[in-house]
Subunit: 307 residues, 2 copies
Amino acid sequence: MNPLHEIGEHEAIRRLTASLALHPDLVVGAGDDCAVCRLSGTPYDQVFTSDPVIEEVHFKSDDEPRRIGHKALGRALSDLAAMGAEPQWVLVNVVAPSVYNVDRLEQVYEGIRALADRFGATVIGGDLAEGPVFELHVFATGTLPEGSALLRSGAVPGDAIYVTGPLGCSLEGRHLDFIPRVAEGVFLRETEWVHAMMDISDGLATDLRHLMKRSEVGAVLKENLIPRNGSLQQALFDGEDFELLFCVPESRTDELEAAWLDRFGTGLFRMGRITDQQECLSLEAADGSVSLLEKKAFEHFRNPDFR
Amino acid sequence: MNPLHEIGEHEAIRRLTASLALHPDLVVGAGDDCAVCRLSGTPYDQVFTSDPVIEEVHFKSDDEPRRIGHKALGRALSDLAAMGAEPQWVLVNVVAPSVYNVDRLEQVYEGIRALADRFGATVIGGDLAEGPVFELHVFATGTLPEGSALLRSGAVPGDAIYVTGPLGCSLEGRHLDFIPRVAEGVFLRETEWVHAMMDISDGLATDLRHLMKRSEVGAVLKENLIPRNGSLQQALFDGEDFELLFCVPESRTDELEAAWLDRFGTGLFRMGRITDQQECLSLEAADGSVSLLEKKAFEHFRNPDFR
């Protein structure tokens, strides 16, 4: 039979994208937060992302409609932020049962529009079709100077690992209200100090492994430096945080923290370092003992949990 | 309650898009086959479209997977064709139940890839998420010289109305195999003779009304000149034909037909003319009698039929 739940989301995506065609203007294809394409004849690259939010998977059917719209666009803007891109165009496909309330749908759109306005994104189209449950599929583009996109690859041993905010317990409500780190992403790109970056959607442990894999490095996190809303386990595995996870060389950390404080008036969370032990993700406890971190995370098709 | 099925797809889209923000680079927003945006710093515009295909709405669950993938991308390419654009980038969101067969999903992707290759489109990303039924959401971009996009608006009284192929009965199978009229769309744009163009997805009668509305004109079709696969009713109302419907000034019809024959070796179907009677769509019978055409068409949320 070979059902999806036996191989999981990531292996399925790997198989589907393994033999996709290349193109001279395609800088980065599937496997990063966004695809990156050269904008021929300009000094810019254009980045592309698409994100689904599905009833009873990414939100509950009785969640406030404005917040559902907010989350749908927020996920896409967070992907743009993870590249350091400025948001540009947005299209939204809506799927809904024929009994779906139109006023509710208008409120969903208000949530999308308010967030788009805040970050200079413009909703330019989409489609509306009938289906068994309510879904939004958001497509978004962004731009940045040629060659400046921050990728998951590029981290090198010795880099400090940062995150832009506390992790865990997002499903208690924040996953519907988070503010995508668009301004922070652009700021970090402009510093030119960041080696690698991504946003945290699947959980710190899983996402850091993705970054490690693309960068061909390992990492060690200091348990008591991981900023968290709940337990350590929740910070590591809950996901849907939509904070930025990034790596900068040790030599730039003081400058970075000072510049960040000056710009945003808040702290940054430095919580570990990149190592040369490929695929090894370790936790360092307060007493200095180091242990390998187990693999465990949310993945579409493999977990019964709400996501 | 105010459910979607009471107002239908088109009125719902109108409401949702009524208060969307504008942008100086946005040339055409929601309401045409694609949105059109200026590509600043280049002599090009970029066009954007997104199309869902949903199990038991746009295809049956036991349809061949390659054909499902083909249709999903074909719909998006047909929208690009309707503007006269060259295909560029494609992203695909897949929704599937966790028991969905991975080999089947790979075949869906083969269908997408084969069609993308044929028309120079490149699949650069997407997402995969769990949901109750199988769906594909295809997002595609295209490019064309600045200001050259063929819109639904622009038809003027006296224009001849053409279609690129026979209509009706598509749901008997062709809706899964149609070849999007990409080459034809580019050719028609390059002639500079076309006043207005769109593709036929909702059925000739409904789509021609859309074009009439955007152009603020009326139209009369000659019954016995409408190319069809089945009955006149089927040609008018079935939909999912994905042929191009377009208008050219009477003075260019001979040149156009000769150029078309030279380029494609096939005929074009001239089937009526644009009038100044706004919103009036009429049928002229073989005996010369003219009657107003009833409004009746597939629309998402308003019909029980398969689409």
